[in-house]
Symmetry: C2
Subunit: 332 residues, 2 copies
DNA sequence: CTGTTAGCGCCTTCAG
DNA sequence: CTGAAGGCGCTAACAG
C-alpha cells in the first residue's frame, strides 16, 4: 500500500507551510489567491485527503452522526435510519449506526462508544432505563420514536395513545364491543402508550373491558400469530383485533388468513408492504417512518448549527387508512 | 461537561508511567501484579475509558468494521447488515454502515472515507464500476451479494444464474411456454446474472424467446407494477412471470391481485413477508439474508485473524419454496 | 519489569 | 497574510 499523503506533503509541494495549507483545506478566507491556487493544485496532484482521525483528535469533534436504534433489521428503524443517513450524507456528514437489541446495557455501551468517538450529534431510540446521563452529553442529543426516562429530551414521535384510540374508536363505530389487543413487551414506552390508548378508548366507547382480550409481550410475528390463535380460541372471542406493532401484525394477519377468519375485523398500528393487496386489505394507522427520519434529521441539523433544543416533543400526525379489514361488520 | 480522564491521569493516580498503564489496558502480561492491580484500581476509580480516536491515530487501525450496501432501508440489506453488526458487536468490534444508493461515485466516496478512518475490515456490496482500487486496500475486503468488477475479490453470494434457471424450469415443467421477466437495471451484476439465467433456461427448455416478454430497469414496486400491466396488455400475454427481485415482486404481486389475474403463474427471486399468506401463496427462490450475513461476518473474522483470503466465491444454496403461485397451470 | 522519548496528522495558539 | 512551535491522547521504539 502506498504511503498516505499528509498535509505536510501538500505544503511542501506548494512551497508553503502546513498551517497555510490547512487554512485552504478548511476554507479560511485569509489566504492569498495565488497561494490558495498553488495549494489546491498540490492537493489535486497528490490526491490528498484529510485524515478524519487526526482531525477528530485535534478538534475534539467529528463530522459523524451517531444513530442508536433497536435493530437495523427492523423495517421501521431501517426506514428511519436510511432517511437520516441519506440527508446526513447530503450535508457532508458521516453516520455511525448501532443497534441495542432493546437491551439497556447494550444501549449504554454503544452510546458511550459513540460519545467517545466524539460524534457531532446523537439520535437515539431509547430503551427502558434511566437516560439522565445524557443530560450533559457533549453534543446535541435527539430522541426518536420514544421519550427517554429521567430526562426532558427533545423527541420526534407520533401520538401513540391517540393512534390506538382512533383505531379502537374506528372499530367501535362499526359496532364491535369485544376488541382484542395484541402488542409487545411493556418495557417500551411506545407499547405502554398504545395499550393505554386502547384502554382509554375501550372505556370511552363503553366497550367490554375484558383483560383476557389483552395479549402483550408479543414481539415477533410468531408470537403475534400465537396470540391471535389464543384470542380466537376464547370461549367468547373478540370480533375485532387491534395489533399494536408491525411485527405482531404480520403474525396476526397470517393467523387470520390461515384460519380463514378474515371476518374478524383488524386495525394495525404501522403500515406494511402488501397490506393493500391482501383480501381484505388491512386497515392501518400509518406512522410514516420517512417523515420521522426527515424531521429527526432536520432537527438535528438545526441543533448542530447552534439552534437551542426546545426540549419539547415534535409530534408527527397519524393517518388512519381504511382498506377493508377495519371495516368488517360484527357478525350477526 | 467534565474533563476527559486521560491515561496520564490514571498513571499519576497509580504513581507510575503512562506506558505501564497502557500496557495494563492492552493486556500486556509483562507488568508486575502489584502495579497492575494499582492501575486497574485507578482506572475504576477515575472511570477511565480509552480514547478510540487517539488509539486509532497512533496504531493506524481501528476496531471498526465498515459495511457498504445499496441502501440500509432495503429489507435484504437491512437483514444482512443487521446480522453482521450483531456478530461484530459480540466480538467487540464496532460497525460503520454506509449506503451508496447504487451510485458508483457515492460508493467510492464512502469507501474512501471508511478507509481513511482505518477500518479493520470492509464488507461491500459493489455497484457497477471498476473496483481494482480495492486490490491494495490496507485491510481485508469482502464482497457480498455481487462480484466486483476488475478484481478477484472474495465474495459471499448466491448462484443468481442457477436460481433464475430453476425458477423458469419450475414454470416450464408446469407447461408454461411464454414466461415474462420483470427485473432491475442492468448495471448490477445480480440482475444481469438472473436475466442470463432466465434466457439460458428459456433456451434450454425450448420456451418462446420473445424479447417483448422481458421488462428490465424496474427497481421499485411501482415500476414492477407497471411492467406487469404492460405484460398483461400484450397481444400475446405471458402465462407466467418470473420476478427478479423483491422490490419488483411487491409490485408484480400487487398488479396481479389488483387485476384479479392471479391465474398468471409467478415465481419471485427473494422471499418476503406475507408471501405465504396471499392467495395463492407466492412461490419464491429463497436466498436467506441471515445466512449471507453470517457467512460474511465469519469470513471477515477469519481474515482479521490473519487467515489469507481464498479469492474464491463463497456460494450459498438457494431453495425453491413452492406455495401455489408458481404451480398455477397454463389456462386451457 | 519499567520509564523516557518521539511521534501518528492535524489544528490552535501566538508571533511575525 | 503567513509560519513556527506545541499538543490533542495514545502507543512503538528503545533504553534502563
Amino acid at each position: 500500500m502506498k504511503a498516505q499523503v499528509r498535509l505536510k506533503d501538500v505544503a511542501e509541494a506548494a512551497a508553503t507551510s502546513t498551517k497555510t495549507a490547512s487554512r485552504v483545506i478548511n476554507g479560511d478566507p485569509r489566504v492569498a489567491e495565488e497561494t490558495r491556487a498553488r495549494i489546491l493544485a498540490a492537493v489535486r496532484d497528490l490526491g490528498y485527503r484529510p485524515d478524519p482521525t487526526a482531525r477528530s483528535l485535534r478538534k475534539g469533534t467529528d463530522d459523524t452522526l451517531g444513530i442508536v436504534v433497536d435493530s437495523i433489521a427492523d423495517p421501521f428503524f431501517a426506514a428511519v435510519t436510511g432517511t437520516i443517513e441519506r440527508l446526513a450524507i447530503a450535508r457532508g456528514l458521516r453516520v455511525m449506526i448501532a443497534s441495542t437489541g432493546r437491551d439497556p446495557r447494550i444501549e449504554a455501551t454503544v452510546v458511550d462508544d459513540l460519545l467517545a468517538r466524539r460524534v457531532a450529534g446523537l439520535i437515539v431510540a431509547p430503551t427502558a432505563s434511566d437516560h439522565s446521563y445524557l443530560a450533559h452529553a457533549p453534543c446535541p442529543v435527539l430522541f426518536v420514536d420514544r421519550r427517554p426516562d429521567g430526562l426532558d429530551g427533545e423527541t420526534v414521535l407520533v401520538d401513540d395513545n391517540d393512534g390506538a384510540r382512533r383505531a379502537v374508536a374506528h372499530l367501535a363505530a362499526r359496532g364491535h364491543r369485544r376488541v382484542g389487543y395484541v402488542g409487545g413487551k411493556m418495557d417500551v414506552a411506545t407499547t405502554r402508550n398504545r395499550l393505554q390508548g386502547y384502554r382509554d378508548e375501550v372505556a370511552a366507547s363503553g366497550l367490554q373491558a375484558d383483560e383476557s382480550l389483552v395479549r402483550i409481550g408479543r414481539n415477533t410475528a410468531d408470537e403475534g400469530r400465537a396470540a391471535t390463535l389464543e384470542l380466537l380460541a376464547l370461549p367468547e372471542p373478540p370480533t375485532a383485533i387491534f395489533s399494536s406493532n408491525t411485527r405482531c401484525s404480520l403474525g396476526v394477519v397470517a393467523a387470520l388468513h390461515a384460519c380463514e377468519r378474515t371476518d374478524v375485523a383488524l386495525v394495525c398500528f404501522g403500515d406494511f408492504p402488501l397490506a393493500d393487496v391482501l383480501a381484505p386489505g388491512v386497515t392501518v394507522i400509518d406512522h410514516d417512518p420517512l417523515a420521522i427520519g426527515q424531521l429527526a434529521a432536520e432537527t438535528m441539523f438545526e441543533r448542530l448549527a447552534g439552534a437551542p433544543a426546545t426540549g419539547r416533543d415534535l409530534t408527527l400526525p397519524l393517518r388512519l387508512i381504511p382498506r377493508g379489514s377495519g371495516e368488517q361488520p360484527v357478525p350477526t
